[in-house]
């Protein structure tokens, strides 16, 4: 028998209405309030305890409430957590999602709640737990019960989950690998035939719309500016002391170039797997033109050169990692009073 911990609010926990919204969290053995509507439909699992907490108390004391939840999780050691459902309720929605997120993240226990699609909690927390698609108000509970318990029963039995669409939960936005029955070429040709006939087809990858990055305004006086050099071309000190990856880098590095006027062959090299490195190894300045920057500094064209190389491998790097690198590099450069950056790619 799998153990399920249930979370609900003052209203569904049958304490009272708005006047009880400041009720501090407490726990009761077994199902209480609306948990009783779900309990009979669970197969192979039982609700071992129900946490009840007032909505106002939760949103104003999130840390204290989560501390309480933590204690109960450690006491009851549940296999699954169910919360709500909160339908279109704002505070209760946040509370359910916060509890789910906390427990799923820290204890790797699957957590399930249910929200109406317009509930702001959907966008905020869909990546952190299972949020089932339920109706706007508690009047739709009859539909919500079989949907949520059916899904929880699959989690209990370990049955393979369908797609978010089939299971009616909001997609977390996570891409996971699967093996299809047919190979990619067969699927491509089938998709094309449907598209040509004007029949419905489903793309396997929705196109993302990217934020357009506007170029910064030009520097007013280059001769007073401090310029830094960054590259995604995988240029590192020879021998790759920090084991920079050839692809899918998870970090960037900052190397001191104090006292150097150039990135010389044998002192630096490329570890990037995404381009022909022969010419970059012969002269690493071809990818990260530090020599040119130093010459411009000597000629007075630019004020000064930041004496570091900020580098990573931009090869099969996910947009999320690349964005993080950019933010971290910008922090470093801002702290050093850098005015402008030459960023080279390959």
């Amino acid at each position: 028998m799998k153990k399920i911990l249930f979370y609900t609010n003052q209203f569904f926990g049958q304490i009272g209405g708005e006047e009880k919204a400041y009720t501090e969290p407490f726990v009761e053995e077994g199902p209480r309030g609306n948990a009783n509507a779900f309990a009979p439909k669970l197969e192979g699992g039982e609700i071992v305890a129900t946490i009840v907490c007032g909505d106002n108390y939760f949103v104003e004391n999130v840390d204290k409430c989560l501390e309480f939840v933590k204690k109960q999780v450690e006491e009851y050691k549940p296999d699954i957590l169910m919360a709500g459902p909160a339908f279109n309720a704002g505070r209760f929605g946040i509370a359910c999602c916060e509890v789910c997120k906390y427990v799923q993240t820290n204890y790797k226990i699957p957590c399930v709640t249910g929200l109406y699609w317009e509930n702001p909690g959907v966008e905020m927390y869909k990546a952190d737990c299972y949020i089932m698609e339920v109706g706007k108000s508690a009047a739709t509970i009859r539909k919500a019960i079989p949907l949520i318990t059916g899904f929880v029963n699959k989690l209990i039995s370990g049955e393979k989950l369908g797609t978010p669409k089939q299971e009616h939960y909001y997609p977390k936005g996570q891409r996971v690998n699967v093996f299809h029955e047919k190979n990619g070429a067969e699927r491509a040709v089938e998709m094309l035939v449907k598209k040509l006939k004007g029949e419905e087809y489903e793309t396997e990858l929705e196109i993302s719309v990217y934020e357009k990055v506007n170029p910064a305004p030009p520097l007013k006086d280059l001769s007073k500016a401090k310029i830094a050099l960054c590259t995604s071309g995988g240029i590192v000190p020879f021998g790759n002391p920090d084991h920079m990856f050839a692809a899918t880098a998870k970090f960037w590095k900052k190397y001191s170039l104090e006292g150097k006027d150039s990135l010389n062959e044998g002192e630096f090299e490329s570890v990037h797997a995404g381009y022909d490195p022969v010419y970059a190894n012969e002269d690493p300045n071809r990818v990260a033109p530090y020599n040119t920057l130093k010459e411009l500094e000597k000629e007075g064209v630019i004020g000064s050169v930041y004496p570091y190389l900020l580098t990573t491998t931009g090869n099969s790097t996910s947009v999320a990692d690349a964005t993080r690198f950019g933010q971290e590099m910008a922090q470093d450069l801002l702290a050093a009073g850098v005015d402008g950056v030459i960023l080279t790619s390959t």
Binding site: Q174, V178, G184, A188, L192, V193, I207, S208, G274, S316
Partner: protein
Amino acid sequence: MKLELRKIAIKDVCFDKECKIVDGCLHVDPAKLEDLVLEDSRVKSVSFDLARPGESVRIVPVKDVIEPRAKLEGGETFPGLFREDMQEAGEGITYALSGCAVTTTGPIVGFQEGVIDMSGPGAEYTVYSQINHVVMIIEKQDYVDQHDHEAVVRLAGIKVARFLGTVGFDCEDYESEVYEWKSIGEKYAEYPGLPKVVYVYNCMAQGLLHDTYFYGRDAKVMVPTMITPLEVMDGALVSGNCVSPGSKTTTYMHQNNAVIKELFKIHGKEINFVGIVLNPLMTTLKEKFRDRMLTVRQVKMLGADGAIISQEGFGNPTTDLMIVCQELEQNGIKTVLISNEDAGVDGMSEPLPDSVQEANAIVSTGNSNATVMLPAMEKTIGNIKEVERVCGGNVNSIQEDGRLLLEIHGIMGSHNLQGNTKLGAVTI
């Protein structure tokens, strides 16, 4: 143009004193193959090993995989590589030893060589685990530089594959497949009521380990060109061992191009397969725009109603994929793309580095950043240590107990971009 492919199903491989095929088993004389490879004075040493489906064997770092094919009449396979004169490929009779391959390994050339597991979870990710491998372990002379190193390995692999193909000439146990390719006017007249489909065949053209050879010519010095599927089967396209292992279009994947295979299956029934445009993927934006213009123009000249674009590599080539798709769609040509994704190890990142709104029909061959733990194998052919330096591997890849933590794109052919893989990705 007419090509008869005589496919011999190779079910096993073994070493012997002579090369022959007996009851579906390819007997290989390693001494004969070594002599052939050592004709090139740039080779310091060469040896051969065998790997069969289901064995506890890992081959690493793999450079190319080549299906043995040879021509009985009508020229030679892999034309333009070894001789000054050449005859157009795709005509006559070609023997193909299906179910086996010549697979090249040896010290690393760049960082683009991958892993093939013949059993276990890694085997599920690649069609290469399903075939018998004659593995060539090749070392270059010390004076040979990186670019020549790649050429030495590439040519040696092709040479051996071409030779092993001729072993099939004496074998009568083959299945015959006949392919015909007619002029565009005849094609129109043949199936006037069917939608006309063109295949846009992207291939890498970006330098060491990022190249493709067409009749021996480096694709970097080509512009988009109309080609026939029949010449592709005959080895007109040879891999320059390019890009990350997962998406590398090996010579095997050219010879057995999955998109061509599927288009032929429904040609004359649901579509009229009217042509292929080979599109080199160059590094600079100027070349990308030029190649888009010339590719789209040729697709239009062929009168296409629909197109499939297959891909090679990821990152800057995604721009080629997207801009060609955009212009085809804007010209009213319904387009489907094949691409892998780099959605991050956790799958939570945006999956593509470039996009256009017109790309509304995409087949995904999986998230290449996802990791897989591969069990230790009883035998390694090649050098496991190289995993630390290749695409998909890193210094933390080799576990103390011999297991291997690898990103999917470190496995040869895992997300093949002609769609010769069942791997895909879905959003949860």
